[in-house]
Amino acid sequence: MAEVLVLVDHVDGTVRKTTHELLTIARRLGEPSAVFVGNGYDTAKESLATYGAVTVYQVTDPEVDQYLVAPKAEVLAQLVEQTSPAAVLIASSAEGKEIAARLAVKTSSGLITDAVDVQPGGSGPVTTQSVFAGSYTVEATVTTGTPIITVKPNSAAPEQAPTTPQEQAVEVTLSDAAKTARVTDRKPREKSGRPELTEAAIVVSGGRGTGGDFAAVEAFADALGAAVGASRAAVDAGWYPHANQVGQTGKTVSPQLYVAAGISGAIQHRAGMQTSKAIVAVNKDEEAPIFELVDFGVVGDLFAVLPAAAEAIEKHKA
């Protein structure tokens, strides 16, 4: 069975849930091989084995992390050359898409980004994408080279398939061209203690309607064990970090439940949340376009509705 390369998305060896999803998808298409680049393999090892990596290619060359994107694309190009995989799967993060882009050019291969589903097909994987702010669904295949596919978080339910991976250290010789954009400083983002925005099952977002006070949004999110997001209006006003922005120029989320509080529902915001399974909105204005999307909506003041709902939820849990 042909290998399917999965680039492991991790922070110092802590493997992200998206990687488990990719390994699960890879198993539909062939034999999953994880490509681990950077420090912390010992931390990652068990989780990769649990989710079915039959082979792990390890690249520990410290130089790979000192430069932006290009070295990882070179590593993958080398492995594609060596293993002629059935596909390469990469998480659809900003960096993931850039790695995929360079790999596609290097290997003259078709690239599909932001897949929300990948299934085996007669002539290679068939992907499903959601485009134009979620108003269209597109099925596509790669016709040239090795299918290179970036997959959005929450596109598959991770399934365990324990293995004892065969580990292979990979020697890479980076070209000078890969070493031109140096990372001179890296400040890890502060942890909020809440779930990761793109991976969370529930996301509660606040917008301009919060007036800058996110306490009600955060308390409601905590009652549901949710991640907190924000509209660009809230981010631009400096009320919440840009890393939490949902939308076209922020993160795309696709949780089981998305709650928009004090958010009008502009097209650019929708682009980041429209594929959520269930949508709830709280907004003072009954004409707000967000209500066109909702499964459940409350026309009202978020400062009254959210605390009351949080209290009722806490009571229900008790």
Partner: protein, 262 residues
């Protein structure tokens, strides 16, 4: 300093966007405009040449109407434009687009070396965010992308990149390729003077043959991926909307527990 800004003409996101019968983006039916995210690229380039001498060349690839994207950029203050216009380009995918843009950047460089190529972070229609990385790969330039802050000091470009897990500082030597986010600046509106001045600014129109690219390397037929089907998503079923009469919170909680979100 010579800066090339890649600016794309896109269907207006506020209008209804759709697919043509050949499964390519319908660029005829919808009104178009300069991609809003590329305005940030134009603005950043203009700011750079205000402090250090230089010129800004706008590069666009697209149908007839894409000339509007060039014109708007010239009105903002860019110095000249190049429009790659060729029927063969219809349906080009990202690898083909990046090939054409790369060749055009090289050709622009024939009349004086290019120091910086600036792009937006994504086009508002395709939104793949892959053309900048592909351009860097093809041109062999340092890839300095997703800049939320940018400085050029001598021959060194430095940016702040807000990555997924960390905020990074990236540094490279010129020439380089930079993509900018919507956090980086506030794009200017064309002034009346700018609108008048733009009428006299030079715009060249190039075909793919002018770039030494074979027509068989671009367009729908040459694409490395194929769209098998595109379907309009059925509109969401109208949900339940209640007015808060003191019980909105309780009703919301009831909905959430009913759907097992609690």
């Amino acid at each position: 300093m010579k800066i090339v800004v890649c600016a794309k003409y896109v269907p207006d996101a506020q209008g209804d966007r759709s697919f043509s019968s050949d499964n390519t983006t319908d660029r005829q039916g919808a009104d178009g405009l300069l991609s809003e995210l590329d305005e940030y690229a134009v603005e950043e380039a203009l700011k750079l040449v205000e402090t250090a001498d230089g010129e800004v060349v706008i590069l666009t690839m697209g149908p007839d109407d894409a000339a509007d994207a060039v014109r708007k950029s010239l009105q903002m203050g860019a110095h000249s434009g190049v429009h790659v216009l060729d029927d063969a380009l219809h349906g080009s995918d990202a690898p083909a687009t990046s090939l054409v843009l790369a060749k055009a950047v090289e050709k622009i460089g024939e009349s004086g070396a290019v120091d910086l190529v600036v792009t937006g972070m994504a086009s508002t229609d395709g939104s793949m965010s892959v053309v900048p990385a592909m351009l860097a790969e093809r041109l062999g330039l340092p890839q300095v992308t997703y800049a939320s802050e940018l400085t050029v000091d001598g021959r060194t470009v430095t940016i702040r990149r807000d990555g997924d897990a960390s905020t990074e500082t990236i540094e490279a030597s010129l020439p380089a390729l930079v993509s900018v986010t919507d956090q980086i600046n506030e794009p200017r509106y064309p002034s009346f003077k700018g609108i008048m001045a733009a009428k006299k600014k030079p715009v060249e129109t190039w075909s793919v043959a002018d770039l030494g690219v074979d027509a068989s390397e671009v367009g729908l037929e040459a694409a490395w991926t194929r769209v098998a089907a595109s379907t309009e998503r059925p509109p969401r079923e109208a949900g339940q909307v209640v007015a808060d009469e003191g019980d909105g919170g309780a009703k919301l909680a009831e909905f959430l527990t009913g759907r097992k979100f609690v």
